[in-house]
Amino acid sequence: MAMRLSRRNIMRLCRAHGLSLNALLKRAGVSKTAFYHLLYKESVLPRSIEAVAAALGVRASVLLEEADWESRRALCLLAEADRIAGSDPSMDRDNVRHTLLLLEEKPIERLQRSLIRARKPDLHE
């Protein structure tokens, strides 16, 4: 079964992040030409993968797994923090890193993290 890019899923995620498609592509560093080329492709997977899946009688997605996505994401963030802080010696790298982490969240979640409110202590004996 061919694996295609889902325009609907991409737009849904854009809305969830408050981004337009153009803003997303700009942030991702992907050209519109490259994006639309992929979007209209019959399948984004190499033909050989499709063939292996067909031979096994399974969906191509069954053959795939994310290669340590969380650690790659964290490394990307650290590299970006290094790049930004490295461009200005007056900047604190931890401030940049924490800001980048917060920017991945919605404004309401950032506000929740910032608010210190007294909480009832747990008095379990």
Binding site: G18, K26, I84, S87, D88, S90, M91, D92, N95, V96, H98, T99, L100, L101, L102, L103, K106, P107, I108, E109, R110, L111, Q112, R113, S114, L115, I116, R117
Partner: protein, 161 residues
């Protein structure tokens, strides 16, 4: 994330009533900076009102069960009551222009079902630089780093208003 994980139902009611009565206010201070990505903590949410005598404020307070304590000695007016004590009243922002002028340096952010107007981080920094209270001086390096990070990433945390 639902807004009721941050605000109590009465606090949400207060903000929604301010919105319903078209009371002009801007969220400023550390909470506003946090909304824009600054890794800071705060105990309250500062609301800069254009006109503290706006009848809409009293109407919102009545609806949410809060009261406003008038200015006393050196103390500015404050909100009192569980439903509104999270919010601090700000009447003037050091080093900034008038409310109407600074409104052009603000933008709307959606906090769940409530929309609030938030002062741009660069203006928050300018105000803290002018106020120069010890707590402002402590937080300024973090705010400046956040602003620089936003600029490097070419991000503006805003919604069309």
């Amino acid at each position: 994330m639902p807004e009721n994980l941050i605000f109590t139902s009465k606090e949400i009611a207060f903000l929604r009533e301010l919105e319903r009565h078209k009371v002009e206010f801007i969220l400023v201070g550390a909470a506003a900076a946090a909304l824009q990505g600054a890794p800071v903590v705060t105990q309250d949410i500062d609301l800069w009102f254009e006109d503290i005598s706006d009848p809409g404020i009293q109407a919102a307070l009545r609806k949410s069960g809060g009261i406003m304590v008038p200015a006393f000695g050196q103390n500015p007016p404050t909100f009192a009551g569980n439903s509104v004590k999270l919010f601090d009243i700000v009447l003037t922002m050091h080093g900034l222009m008038s409310f109407a002028e600074e409104k052009t340096n603000s933008f709307e952010v959606s906090l769940g079902k409530v929309k609030v107007r938030v002062l741009d981080l660069a203006r928050i920094i300018k105000s803290k630089e002018a106020a120069r209270r010890p707590k402002d001086l402590l937080v300024l390096p973090v705010l400046r780093d956040t602003l620089k990070t936003l600029k490097r990433k070419k991000i503006r945390i805003s919604l069309p208003s």
